[in-house]
């Protein structure tokens, strides 16, 4: 397995720590004058999702992690796994509940998601920044209220609940920002 030295550390770099793949969030050089240098590294454990800190001696090496990001299309779930398909090779990849936890409420068939894989296994599924989803349930729309003040909750086809303007009705297609979980606008199609 290839190794990486602290002098190659930068945010986004994937490395192995105590057997788990991790991603660097922040790398800070600690260098007292003419003294020995250290790297204070803030990282996310990609298996558990937890962030932590580790101090390295500058020049130390760690094992690099075979972590790649691929774009896969969501197919279906059997309740235990969520299946994603490579749109080119049609190969199926099964992600467990842990991997889709953050984006479960934005999962819609045939949408393309960013899947972080470690040794071929999906670790984390990230939703695209925007998805278009149909309103499954909401109170009846109020005609004439186009200002969008106040708003009301609406349950979308994926189960996500977002605040929408009062005039929205069941069956309408909405554009949602998955990062904030907020309604953006009516979607064209």
């Amino acid at each position: 397995m290839a190794s990486v030295s602290t002098n190659q550390f930068k945010s986004g770099l994937k490395f192995m720590l105590d057997g788990d793949p991790c991603s660097i969030i922040e790398n800070e050089l600690v260098k007292p004058g003419k003294g020995q240098a250290f790297n204070r590294v803030k990282f996310r454990n990609l298996k558990t999702g937890r962030t932590n800190e580790r101090t390295f001696k500058s020049g130390e090496s760690v094992e690099s992690a075979d972590v790649i990001e691929v774009e896969l299309e969501y197919s279906y779930t059997d309740g235990e796994f969520w299946y994603f398909m490579d749109p080119v090779s049609y190969e199926q990849h099964a992600a467990d509940a842990n991997a889709i936890e953050d984006c479960k409420k934005w999962l819609k068939e045939q949408y393309v998601y960013t899947v972080t894989q470690w040794n071929g296994t999906p670790l984390l599924v990230t939703a695209p920044n925007f998805v278009n989803l149909v309103v499954a349930e909401t109170d009846p729309g109020l005609k004439g209220d186009t200002a969008g003040t106040g708003g009301k909750p609406a349950t979308l086809e994926t189960g996500a609940v977002v605040r929408v303007p009062l005039f929205m009705n069941i069956g309408e297609l909405l554009r949602i920002d998955t990062r904030s979980g907020e309604y953006v606008e009516r979607a064209k199609d």
């Binding site: 050089l29 003294g35 204070r40």
Partner: protein, 323 residues
């Protein structure tokens, strides 16, 4: 993708830097300290094990004979040649270079204000550093604490009497981010505890702090003396402000033979670290042999001073065009 050519500092920052340089020069002109220039390139380089010089080569026209040259990490050696020649007190605003050092508070190339005083004791030099800082910006007076006192005050540790194992267990208690098999030598533990445990506490004082009387093993180019408690200490100070290490001052070591020994010990440690030996500055040693006058000297990082003046957290924000 388009090149992001834009300077990292704003025009306001550029102007503030110019003002800082002008004010510093005015300060020394009034004190009749002579401004000097010395070469950035040298055939010798500092031996300090954790200080890496940029290396380049000089090729005389018409030959293919390369000669090694190093970019200065500070103008200290060349300025001491001037002192030995009888220059009297001198200062320099110099570009200095440290290979590999890049981070929020570090740039591989930065600006140093370094000065030497033949009239001042180390205590008086600390006064002058404060005088300079309060004259160029809104700095407050500095607290002075000895190295032993800060370790006692913040960690209840007798730093000159403790064992390496004491230091290690203290580091593990206060720094949760260390791996179980993390190992360092004594000066390594001291540096780590200083940076990660004590410096953040000093920053909370909201006032600049001088730390003085360092362990003799960290004497660098300072004299070693015996303190009031009978410990061998380096006649050195460092100035911390706003979480940054701003300045490093010495009561300058005068004996050539003692300095040669330190250089050689440094090179031995470099070998243990798998680093190349650095060529010892024989000109400096010859000048000291001829007689370096009693003097104190200090190097102040001007980019960091500017960071504090402008309340910036990244050194890149105060360098007009960054590395």
């Amino acid at each position: 993708m388009e090149n992001d050519w834009r300077p990292s500092a704003s025009i306001e920052t550029m102007k503030r830097r110019a003002q800082l340089l002008a004010d510093a020069r005015h300060f020394f002109a009034q004190k009749q300290v002579l401004e000097v220039e010395t070469p950035i390139l040298s055939q010798a380089a500092p031996t300090a094990p954790y200080l890496d010089s940029f290396k380049t080569d000089y090729i005389p026209i018409g030959t293919d004979q390369k000669q090694d040259f190093y970019l200065q990490t500070s103008p200290e050696f060349a300025m001491k040649l001037l002192l030995a020649a009888g220059s009297g007190s001198i200062y320099q605003v110099a570009k200095v270079f440290r290979n590999g050092e890049s981070g929020k508070h570090h740039s591989p190339e930065f600006t140093m204000l370094e000065w030497y005083r033949v009239e001042l004791t180390l205590e008086q030099l600390m006064d002058e550093v404060v005088e300079l800082l309060t004259s160029v910006a809104d700095f407050s007076d500095a607290i002075r604490l000895s190295y032993a006192v800060v370790f006692k005050k913040y960690l209840d540790l007798d730093v000159f009497d403790c064992t390496d194992a004491d230091l290690k267990s203290l580091a593990f208690t206060h720094i949760p981010s260390l791996a179980a098999d993390f190992e360092l030598d004594r000066d390594g533990w001291l540096a780590l505890v200083m940076s990660e445990v004590i410096e953040p506490k000093l920053a909370e004082l909201n006032q600049p702090v001088f730390i003085y009387d360092f362990p003799a093993s960290q004497a660098q180019l300072a004299k070693v003396k015996i303190d009031g408690q009978g410990n061998y200490v380096a006649a050195r100070f460092e100035l911390y402000a706003g979480g940054l290490e701003l300045a490093n001052g010495y009561d300058e070591l005068l004996e050539a033979q003692a300095l040669r020994q330190r250089f050689e010990q440094d090179n031995q440690q470099r070998q243990r670290l798998g680093k190349p030996d650095m060529p010892i500055d024989e000109n400096l040693l010859a000048a000291m042999q001829a007689g370096l006058p009693q003097c104190t000297g200090v190097a102040l990082g001007l980019d960091r001073v500017l960071m504090l003046i402008l309340d910036q957290s990244n050194i890149k924000q105060v360098q007009n065009v960054t590395f």
